[in-house]
Amino acid sequence: MIVSARIFFVGGATSFRALFYWLTPWIYVPTMFISPLFQILLFAYIGRSAGLESDKFYLIGNALQYASIPCLFAMAQAIGGERYQNTLSAILVSPAPRIPLFFGRSLPVVLNGAFVAAVALLTGSLVLGVHLPASSIAPLLLVVLIAAFSCTGLGLINAALSLRIRENAVLSNVIFGFLLIFTGANVPLDSLPGWMSTAAQGLPFTHAIEAARQLASGASLGDVADLLGAELLIGVIYGVAGYALLRWFETLSRRHASLERS
């Protein structure tokens, strides 16, 4: 039990520090603090130009959706990066239990994703002059945490795929793009074609963004409990699917001796 806890917490944190290549301030600050701010501004101004929705709509949508960048990329690097460091085989040959091994790497990713989204919310609201009620701040932080958890589940699938494909950066960007369109971050779900808004119900962020918008409009945490429950459930489903995929690819890699394929 203690070994598993050490692998989960200490191993996870060590892997994150070692393998998330963007932790240096030269990369972290522009990518995690400044780019989301410009994404918020870009869509807020597009919205103004198109005469659709308010600045608050785009602020919340994009601040939350941008958490997908750290969640998808960091998760892929925290597992797929082992291959580039030639340490993957050493890890997979170890008797370490796989659940704490893989999920331990997710915890720092969730916290980092939530931090990035929270900073984006703060800076975006300051720059755009959007007022968020003081009573909504704590619930919004919870929503941000749940959204990051949910997307990290998807990130685990992304990480598993990075064991099989070479260009994970392209895949991460493609997933980011789908989340940008489908989750209602910028386009109200009822303005999307029916099949897209239906598909959005199964994606991370859709329910969290809706919950955050309701909270920012004065709703209480209890009012959005069902949305948060749905977001959590989606995160759990993606997390379990990602873990299963990791185990499957691990087995395949052993069978076909393709672990180090790069």
Binding site: T24, W26, I27, P30, T31, I34, S35, F38, Q39, L41, L42, F43, Y45, I46, G47, R48, S49, A50, G51, L52, R166, E167, A169, V170, N173, V174, F176, G177, F178, L180, I181, N186, V187, P188, S191, L192
Partner: protein, 256 residues
């Protein structure tokens, strides 16, 4: 003539390499399409009289810029990773001439982005593809590509001392999309932003493409775009000299 042949042959080689790269040849083409699609939905759902063709042209030039900004910043970094940077610097040609075909190749991929976005808008959103002045439109696209290549060259040589040069390239993607009037009219932006927009060639390239497509007078915008592109190249040559002088004096070219 020798230099032109050199640029042409190098551009051809770079273009082939870029098209074989999953990140530059596929990722950089697909990625802006997501933003274009989102913008199309926003404009379609919005109440503004601004037409979808306006958004379509803007989104198309967004794609052109993406292919340059994301990868040009790290053009020298790539050479460094490949171990060819020192060889290229030591070549008898001026280094900026060696590097220009690389950023020109990236800018050329932008034409593919432009066509892909316009076709995507046409077939997925029914946005009409009417070009009022086809010849001027073609000239505007070529002029914009050349100016983008010049700006990309300036990025590439300016970022040579940074290990994380690719981040700086990425960093300029959103701001240029925002302040060069691709999807948002400059009049909507704060007044202090406009002078910054005016010194950026993408602003004038965008205007020239839009004017030629929608039936205006694109030539002044095109000339400004080309002029600024030439200024960027001039600056890039000066920066190259300075950066290489420093790198040689400190032995820091490889950043190892």
């Amino acid at each position: 003539m020798n230099s032109l042949r050199f640029v042409f042959v190098s551009w051809k080689l770079q273009f082939k390499m870029i098209m074989r790269s999953p990140f530059d040849g596929i990722g950089n083409v697909i990625y802006p399409l997501f933003f274009a699609t989102t913008a199309f939905f926003v404009f379609k759902a919005g109440s503004s009289p601004r037409t979808l063709i306006y958004a379509s042209l803007g989104a198309a030039v967004m794609g052109m810029w993406s292919s340059v900004s994301t990868s040009a910043g790290s053009a020298m970094q790539r050479e460094r990773w490949w171990g060819t940077l020192e060889l290229l610097v030591a070549a008898p040609r001026h280094f900026s001439l060696v590097l220009f075909p690389s950023t020109l190749g990236l800018a050329t991929v932008g034409i593919y982005n432009l066509v892909a976005t316009l076709l995507w808008g046409r077939f997925a959103f029914g946005i009409p593809l009417t070009i009022e002045h086809p010849l001027l439109f073609g000239l505007s696209v070529v002029g914009t590509v050349l100016a983008f290549a010049g700006l990309g060259l300036l990025f590439a040589v300016s970022f040579v001392r940074f290990r994380a040069a690719w981040v700086l390239g990425n960093f300029f993607e959103y701001p240029v999309w925002l302040i060069c009037g691709f999807l948002v009219p400059l009049s909507l932006l704060p007044a202090w932003v406009r002078p910054i927009s005016w010194v950026l060639a993408p602003t004038w390239g965008m205007n020239a493409i839009r004017e030629s497509a929608l039936g205006g007078t694109p030539l002044p915008d095109l000339l400004l775009c080309l002029g600024l592109g030439a200024v960027y190249v001039g600056f890039a040559v000066l920066v190259t000299n300075r950066v290489l002088y420093d790198a040689r004096a400190r032995g820091s070219l490889s950043l190892t």
